[in-house]
């Protein structure tokens, strides 16, 4: 395991209305939010956390054009160079007939590629065990996880979370990475936000 063990302060919230200002205040105080685990997608949370826009769709576009080129080059090579056949009197370079297959390969490449990339970005893979900070994060709690460095005073963070409205607070040590390496979520510092 390449990631290494780190210390985290975990605070659980039971209300979105409390969570949003808490996220803001935690970032304002200069703590690094490792992640916020929610039972359902929360609109605007990614902006509040200052996570940069994902580039998954750019990857998807690249996979898609790879699929398009693969389909077109392969079919044109097969039907015009390698094994030309007369099919229904159509020209060997029968572009309209290839469009459906090209489309399918485009979709297939982008879909499979994006799923794999997504798994990589989220550190998900078969047999990789992820640490759960709170089991109720999949049920009814919003779980905010703050990463500690050696300089962080975790007691201070805990009391900070207390005032921010967290219901349950504890400190956990967890493995963050996996076998290929870690994907650091880039975050904007609160100072860089507009209107700071």
């Amino acid at each position: 395991m390449a990631g290494g063990i780190k210390k985290f302060v975990v605070g659980s919230f039971d209300d979105e209305k409390v969570l949003f200002p808490a996220v803001k205040n935690v970032r304002k105080a200069g703590y690094k939010i490792h992640d916020v685990y929610t039972p359902f997608p929360v609109h605007g949370l990614d902006h509040a956390m200052g996570i940069r826009e994902t580039s998954l769709h750019t990857a998807g576009f690249i996979y898609a054009i790879t699929g398009t080129t693969t389909a077109l080059t392969f079919m044109s090579w097969v039907f015009t160079k390698d094994w030309p056949l007369n099919i229904g009197g159509k020209p060997n370079f029968a572009l309209p007939a290839w469009i459906p297959i090209t489309f399918e390969l485009t979709v297939l490449f982008s879909a499979v590629g994006m799923v794999l990339t997504f798994c990589y970005l989220c550190n998900l893979a078969p047999f990789v065990k992820k640490h759960h900070f709170h089991p109720r994060a999949t049920d009814d709690l919003f779980v905010m996880v703050i990463e500690c460095t050696d300089k962080t005073n975790d007691a201070e963070v805990q009391s900070f979370l207390q005032t921010a409205g967290a219901q349950e607070i504890n400190v956990q040590e967890a493995e963050t990475g996996w076998w290929i390496g870690r994907y650091h979520k880039e975050q904007k510092l609160y100072k860089e936000e507009k209107g700071y």
Binding site: H43, G44, F61, G88, G89, K90, P96, I99, P100
Partner: protein, 417 residues
């Protein structure tokens, strides 16, 4: 919130300028093209041109403004709250349906009862009697059915659209609705929207394109033609809504419309451009693949054969580039869909592209290689654009721009994609 939007002088100037240019073009055509000259096929090219251009423009722009009402109805049925912030804009555009409907009906009747066999081949009684295929279609393609069905169609579009608009306008007077009233109001809207959509299915999505456009090539038929027409006009309709939303936003109106709404309108433009291409391609590919002479005729008239290029080859592929490639590549990025300038550019491009699409649907069967794309064509286009601007502007300056008592207003205000 209660102030009334006043049309700026520049808007009025453009409206009357376009209508003026259009009327000049129409008079020019009326005097120079001998519109009532003998209608034999290919005998009086100018006379054919006069009617063909009127047919193309009136049908295209009528279906475009009608698509604005369909947009309201589908979002109503799908409980789509996000459109409420600019719902009045779509209503305003759809309020042009009766104006263009009457004009289109007059043009269609002039063509049918003026025995314009150069436009609709099936009007030629002698040809129908000696033609096995046309004879078989006689029950559907005859002046009586054509005019009655066209009349019913335009009447129902007007009537059901009017009902949808008046329900929305009445809600302005009532004040904020409580839960029960709001529920009942939404239910009534849903019922009328469903009725409209059923009529829409029976007309735009099936019979009307067959009658008004496909019957130009009376021998030929395609089961995808109506959907193709629908996709063409719907994407133009959504683009027109987007244009008006951006225009009003620029004028400091529509305070609750944000980038999020623009993003979703952009998604509609993107998605329906792809949908249009899907139908374009399916229609083309099946005909190309089976290679039956009576089916390929449609494309031979346009793009020609392998040895001889057809007169519409350039327009045909230009059409594919601006209606498919440009929206695909430009509107794909999230950034462009949220960029007011880019969406404006794309909306204008899409509307123009589908106008060209209708050009290549009408002209090959009527004018063959004698088509032209000049002052008269663009002038008539300007006339209809001016009429749409006039009708839309009239509605916008008469009613509140915000359906402020709509139960879904808040959902629209906090809309987030």
């Amino acid at each position: 919130m209660d102030h009334q939007f006043q049309l700026p002088g520049s808007y009025k100037k453009w409206t009357y300028g376009l209508i003026g240019a259009g009327v000049i073009a129409l008079l020019y055509g009326f005097i120079m093209f001998h519109p009532f000259a003998h209608a034999g096929h290919g005998e009086n090219v100018n006379s054919t041109r006069f009617w063909a251009v009127l047919l193309q423009n009136s049908v295209f722009f009528l279906l475009v403004v009608n698509a604005a009402m369909f947009f309201i109805c589908v979002t109503t049925m799908a409980m789509g709250g996000w459109v409420v912030a600019f719902r009045r804009v779509s209503e305003a555009i759809s309020s042009v349906v009766p104006i263009l409907g009457v004009i289109t009906f007059v043009i269609l009747m002039a063509i049918v009862f003026g025995d314009r066999t150069d436009i609709y081949h099936w009007l030629d009684k002698e040809a129908v009697a000696n033609d096995h295929i046309l004879n078989g279609k006689k029950g559907f393609l005859n002046p009586m059915f054509f005019s009655i069905w066209s009349f019913i169609t335009i009447f129902l579009w007007w009537f059901l659209g009017k009902k949808m608009r008046s329900m929305s306008l009445e809600s302005d007077k009532q004040g904020t609705m409580d839960y029960e009233t709001g529920k009942k109001w939404i239910w009534n809207n849903t019922v009328w929207a469903s009725l409209y959509s059923i009529v829409f299915t029976l007309t735009v999505a099936s019979t009307i394109p067959w009658l008004w456009l496909m019957s130009i090539d009376a021998h030929w038929y395609s089961t995808m033609y109506s959907w193709y027409t629908f996709a063409s006009t719907f994407v133009s309709g959504v683009s027109l809504i987007a244009l008006y939303v951006i225009y009003l936003k620029n004028r400091g109106q529509l305070e609750y419309v944000t980038e999020e709404h623009l993003h979703d309108l952009g998604k509609f433009m993107f998605a329906f451009s792809i949908f249009w291409t899907y139908l374009w391609f399916s229609q083309y590919m099946l005909i190309w693949y089976s290679n039956q002479p009576e089916e390929t005729k449609y494309f031979v008239e346009r793009i020609g054969t392998a040895t001889k290029a057809g007169p519409y080859k350039g327009i045909f592929f230009f059409n594919l580039i601006i209606n498919f490639l440009c929206p695909l590549l430009i509107l794909m990025k999230k950034g462009t869909k949220r960029n007011w300038t880019m969406v404006t550019v794309m909306a204008v491009l899409i509307i123009f592209g589908h106008w060209v699409d209708f050009f290549q649907m009408v002209m090959p069967g009527t004018l063959h290689e004698h088509y032209s794309l000049g002052f008269y064509e663009f002038g008539i286009g300007a006339l209809f654009v001016g009429l749409i601007m006039w009708g839309t502007g009239r509605y916008l300056s008469k009613h509140s721009l915000l359906a402020r008592n709509h139960p879904f207003l808040k959902e629209s205000m906090i809309h987030h994609t």
